[in-house]
């Protein structure tokens, strides 16, 4: 974890750890920038899961060509958005980098099913759960929802992450 937890006395004499994560710090360590940053905000993050949001800008350049006269967000960008929020944000948190460095990352596998189209200007929510993080490989089950909580896409994404 990036920040520090405190032991909190719970019911029945048990204690559990409350972890504070500085979401802004995670965002600032993402190794992306315009026009290839697909994360606006993180709503929730712990060592097993992450929830984040992104709005695909109505005037984005790719709508001019995908498709001609019929703008729809490319599936490959939905996949990228799912990977940046679902795998990279979670991965940075898991690596728990203490300094300003961004990790070395590489996407290694995607297997996504798509259910709904995303229109220009739509905001999406990405929900990701860690399946495993072993030997620098993070594999996650990632879902994307629209404003009405309908499923846009779902699948597994893996990447290799390493401290630089």
């Amino acid at each position: 974890m990036l920040d520090y937890g405190i032991d909190h006395p719970g019911k029945w004499g048990r204690t559990f750890k409350i972890i504070f994560v500085n979401f802004q710090e995670i965002l600032s360590r993402l190794p992306y920038s315009e026009p290839f940053l697909f994360v606006d905000s993180i709503e929730y993050l712990d060592e097993n899961s992450v929830i984040g949001h992104y709005c695909f800008p109505e005037k984005a350049y790719y709508y001019k060509g995908h498709f001609k006269n019929k703008p729809i967000t490319p599936g490959v960008l939905l996949t990228e958005c799912m990977a940046q929020i679902g795998v990279v944000c979670l991965g940075i948190n898991l690596l728990g980098i203490k300094n300003d460095e961004t990790p070395a990352i590489a996407m290694t596998s995607t297997e996504i099913d798509f259910f709904l189209a995303v229109q220009p200007g739509e905001t999406v929510k990405v929900v990701s759960h860690k399946l495993y993080f072993r030997f620098n490989k993070l594999k996650c089950k990632v879902e994307m929802y629209n404003r009405d909580e309908n499923l846009i896409a779902r699948g597994n994404i893996s990447g290799m992450l390493k401290d630089n």
Binding site: T108, S109, R134, F135, N136, K137, S158, M160
Partner: protein, 84 residues
């Protein structure tokens, strides 16, 4: 479990991840996962996890780093099974 049985099982485990299928024809102790079978490093992690599930063992980072060939893997599996 004999060496041969473990190698046979290993061959079965790696098969879905192999990019160079010719490398499977003469699969033996000297078969190198990365160079002969062209398994990428991400899929090598899946091989290790499948080996862990198959033999109910846990493979640590050091063992993983030493697992370059089928023979290396066979030795590590046997060592873990003996609980060393």
């Amino acid at each position: 479990m004999t060496d041969k049985e473990i190698l046979q099982k290993l061959k079965k485990i790696v098969t879905p991840y192999v990019q160079n299928e010719e490398g499977l024809n003469d699969f033996d102790e000297t078969t190198d996962f990365l160079n002969d079978l062209k398994i990428n490093s991400a899929n090598l992690v899946d091989v290790i996890l499948d080996v862990e599930d198959e033999y109910k063992i846990e493979i640590d980072n050091d063992s993983m780093n030493g697992m370059l060939t089928a023979g290396d893997a066979r030795k590590i599996i046997q060592r873990k099974l003996r609980n060393e």
